[in-house]
Symmetry: D2
Subunit: 101 residues, 4 copies
Amino acid sequence: MYVVVDLCIIPIGVGVSLSEYIAECQRILKEAGVTFELHAYGTNIEGEWDDVFAAVKKCHRKVHEMGAPRIATTLKVGTRVDRPQSMADKVRSVEEKLKQS
Amino acid sequence: MYVVVDLCIIPIGVGVSLSEYIAECQRILKEAGVTFELHAYGTNIEGEWDDVFAAVKKCHRKVHEMGAPRIATTLKVGTRVDRPQSMADKVRSVEEKLKQS
Amino acid sequence: MYVVVDLCIIPIGVGVSLSEYIAECQRILKEAGVTFELHAYGTNIEGEWDDVFAAVKKCHRKVHEMGAPRIATTLKVGTRVDRPQSMADKVRSVEEKLKQS
Amino acid sequence: MYVVVDLCIIPIGVGVSLSEYIAECQRILKEAGVTFELHAYGTNIEGEWDDVFAAVKKCHRKVHEMGAPRIATTLKVGTRVDRPQSMADKVRSVEEKLKQS
């Protein structure tokens, strides 16, 4: 099952600067071989369900190892079985609608 | 790794009545042996990471099998390594603060 | 426009104990006159759009005043125009489906 | 109060093609004068709290007018009072950490 995910990990109990934790998660996603793209409020990821969720679990483990006692993550998870649709397809589809009018 | 999750599955492309899909997911959670509780905008689940996410994956598969071509899920995922905290603990902790003042 | 919301406010930069902040938000919701119910991973709220979002804004202001330099909130927001549906209706609808089978 | 938001609007009851609804919301955000950027699983928005949430409400109204009987939206809402931080700052901060190592 192919999945498109939006991942937003919030480490709690380590102050207000969270970018080093997010950067470490980007490294984990890169090693995981999934497609991903950072945006201003999370990271979009696409790939096989098991690969993506294994990477998310590794991110939680790593952020705890880095010292965060608590983590609150928000995930949006999209699957579809009618046709394949990549992250790039989703953006392109909206942009085409915007050009048409 | 123990996890407390809030799961909200939205089947897309099957009209506006979604409760039969949600009910089916409740059955999957029951079979999975995780602790869970339905609320008005999702279902809280607690258990071992792998058990909880295996159940979430089963829910996606089932909802597709029931006819939904597309699913958009929102998950909140909480882990902590400083101390154990159940779903009941979390609610109790807030309620105690409310009584104190 | 009537709305059913799931609100989860995460104060950042104030350590790992968040229940006093959540308790304060419960007080704000009570004063706001909206219907609400705490669960293990957030608070469900229903009411008129403007009333609910004014209360959410007050919660952010208050949590900052209490000392949190940063807040990360997740909101689920449901509206429907086909028929009225309360938080209690949503839970009841799933529970009825569970009984039927 | 300045806010950075991630908005993901899911129209329910109008089939599986949602891009025309999303495109219409992009137009509303443009008219609203807030800064925004579409990504593969939502739209990041920044601006004054009242401006951003007025635009979100307009999006809900418009999507209902376009025929969607029901909408399920997920919003992530970030505020901070310690220092200003734009959407671009957030991405840059992570990218700098990635270069350093």
